[in-house]
């Protein structure tokens, strides 16, 4: 609760600090606020807290996901000063909007009332429409912003219709009342099932699961890379945490109405995400499709509700966030310095002059591919174990095949960095930038060697 308030207040403060015209003040205030919020969040561990007349419930599940998201945002903020170097205008506004979006994301994971879920999702999404278009004079950024706006609003409307139909049949927005309704009622009205299906579809939009993914590659490609990193990590994790919580608390007793849908979303995301990623030339677009395929893996946790699936989802989110931030971090500087279009060719021979960047990118790619001693390996392992425990052996086989296909395009990038030799220049980055990348990389390795640190949390 206090961590959400801290994040929101830091956002407002940043707007006022914009008058000072000093970019080191913005970033230090932002990072201080985020670290305070992270500390407040971590220290409230094991203390179950409800607020706003039971609309918000902050349990260990919410705290764990909030901490991962706040930590990911800190890493993104460390990348920001270098990314915005030379851009003087509107930087504090961008920081403030990122803060507001994060506050919404923290509300989404801890809802106990569908009203709060709706408010949280909107608080998270509305700043992102602006952020996606924050390169004001680039038509590609405008296009990304508008596409994100339209499809996100469409998803919101579908989500609201779903909530309304559930409310109409149950008579309450409260999570506890909805789950009670299903224990009492044996014959579920079909209109309620329609409502549940609409809710699942709208979340499919938000987490970019195939066939509701079509906006994601365009939006990821057109937005500024820093914002893409935020969207691909924080927003997706928040979406998953909320999706998991919604289905596991409200609709766990009526699995027939959504199980097949999740199954379809998961299998299609794995197949189409990976196959489309192979043929991409642009690295940012390839990462967008790879993020769609990760959606397919993360949906396994929702498919197999058991005591293990929440922690496997948490571990996957953590591993995925770290590797995505590291990958986008390297992509940002390579794209800026090589004056290239961000295609795979831009990475050729990177290891010669910029060994640190090449190693960071390699480890993050290996983690995304799921190679051992990186966090990505155990992320996939745990999520497969959770699916097998739920009795979904055949889908695990599809998952393993998809992961093998995934290795192909991740390796393509690694080979380009190390094997090909072409003339590259040395890329100068700031110490903060390198710190962020190295922290992410080291944590990928630590989490890959000692997975019990995270997997035993919730």
């Amino acid at each position: 609760m206090f961590s959400i308030i801290t994040i929101a207040i830091t956002g407002v403060l940043l707007l006022y600090l914009g008058f000072l015209k000093n970019r080191w003040i913005y970033i230090s205030v932002a990072i201080t606020g985020l670290i305070t919020a992270l500390a407040l969040s971590v220290f409230s561990w094991n203390s179950l807290e409800t607020s706003f007349s039971n609309m918000l419930i902050i349990d260990n599940y919410a705290i764990a996901f909030n901490s991962v998201m706040i930590f990911a945002t800190i890493l993104i903020f460390l990348l920001a000063p270098h990314y915005f170097k030379g851009i003087e205008k509107n930087v504090p506004e961008i920081y403030a909007l990122l803060m507001f979006s994060l506050a919404g994301a923290c509300m989404v994971t801890s809802f106990d009332n569908l009203t709060m879920l709706f408010i949280g999702i909107e608080t998270m999404s509305i700043p992102l429409y602006i952020l996606a278009g924050s390169k004001k004079f680039s038509i590609r950024s405008n296009e990304a912003s508008f596409k994100y706006f339209i499809f996100s609003s469409l998803a919101t409307a579908i989500f609201l219709l779903g909530i309304t139909l559930v409310y109409g049949m149950v008579g309450s927005f409260h999570v506890g009342d909805i789950s009670n309704y299903f224990t009492i009622t044996k014959e579920i009205p079909s209109i309620l099932k329609v409502g549940i299906v609409l809710l699942v579809i709208s979340f499919g939009f938000k987490i970019a699961a195939v066939p509701f993914h079509f906006w994601a590659p365009d939006v990821y490609e057109g937005s500024p890379t820093l914002i893409t990193a935020f969207m691909a990590t924080v927003v997706k994790i928040a979406g998953f945490a909320a999706f998991y919580k919604l289905l596991s608390t409200c609709f766990i007793l009526v699995p027939d109405s959504w199980h097949h849908l999740i199954l379809g979303l998961s299998v299609l995301s794995l197949i189409i995400g990976n196959l489309a990623a192979i043929k991409q030339k642009d690295v940012k677009r390839m990462l967008a499709y790879s993020s769609i395929s990760h959606t397919g893996f993360m949906l396994f946790a929702i498919l197999s509700f058991n005591s293990f699936s929440a922690s496997s989802l948490l571990y996957y989110s953590f591993a995925y966030a770290l590797s995505t931030i590291a990958a986008f971090g390297v992509l940002m500087v390579v794209k800026n310095h090589m004056s290239a279009d961000g295609s795979v060719q831009a990475f050729e021979g990177l290891a010669k002059k910029n060994p640190i960047l090449a190693i960071v990118m390699t480890i993050s790619m290996l983690s995304m591919a799921g190679i051992p001693i990186t966090a990505g390996f155990f992320a996939k392992y745990y999520i497969f174990v959770s699916a097998i425990q739920g009795g979904w052996l055949w889908i695990v086989i599809i998952g393993i095949l998809a992961a093998l296909v995934g290795v192909a395009y991740y390796l393509k990038l690694i080979i380009a960095m190390f094997a090909k030799t072409s003339e590259t220049e040395k890329i100068v980055t700031s110490p903060l930038y390198i710190t962020s990348l190295l922290v992410a990389t080291v944590l990928i390795l630590i989490a890959g060697v000692l997975p019990n640190l995270i997997i035993s949390l919730i």
Binding site: T115, F118, I119, E122, I126, Y129, I130, G133, K136, F137, I139, R140, N142, E143, A144, S145, F146, K147, F149, I150, S153, L154, T156, A157, L160, L161, I163, T164, Y167, G168, G171, S172, F173, I191, P217, D218, E221, G222, A276, K279, Q280, R285
Partner: protein, 109 residues
Amino acid sequence: MENITSAIRIIPLEHYLFLCLALFSIGVIGVLFRRNTIVILMCIEMMLNSVNLLLAAFSSYRSDPSGQVFVFFIMVVAAAEVAVGLSILVMMKRNVDSIDINLLNKLKD
């Protein structure tokens, strides 16, 4: 208040449901098929307002005020969304001097 609730209940609930679903579907079709961005924004508004109407109907049929409170939340969020959406349109208009959606095809495979 009591009069309004009883007035709403004169019409059977199914009629509200069909009306709202029809409005919602018109909105979805408009978003997907119209080429003018202003019309797309209007269609999104229409979807949200059809949900509002349905919520108000359900709320008075169940004699439960929380549905009507939810309507206020939706209105606030819809206003914020449209403000952002229109400003994105202004930004686009400055760059390409048009708001036709067919110009938005720079990003593709």
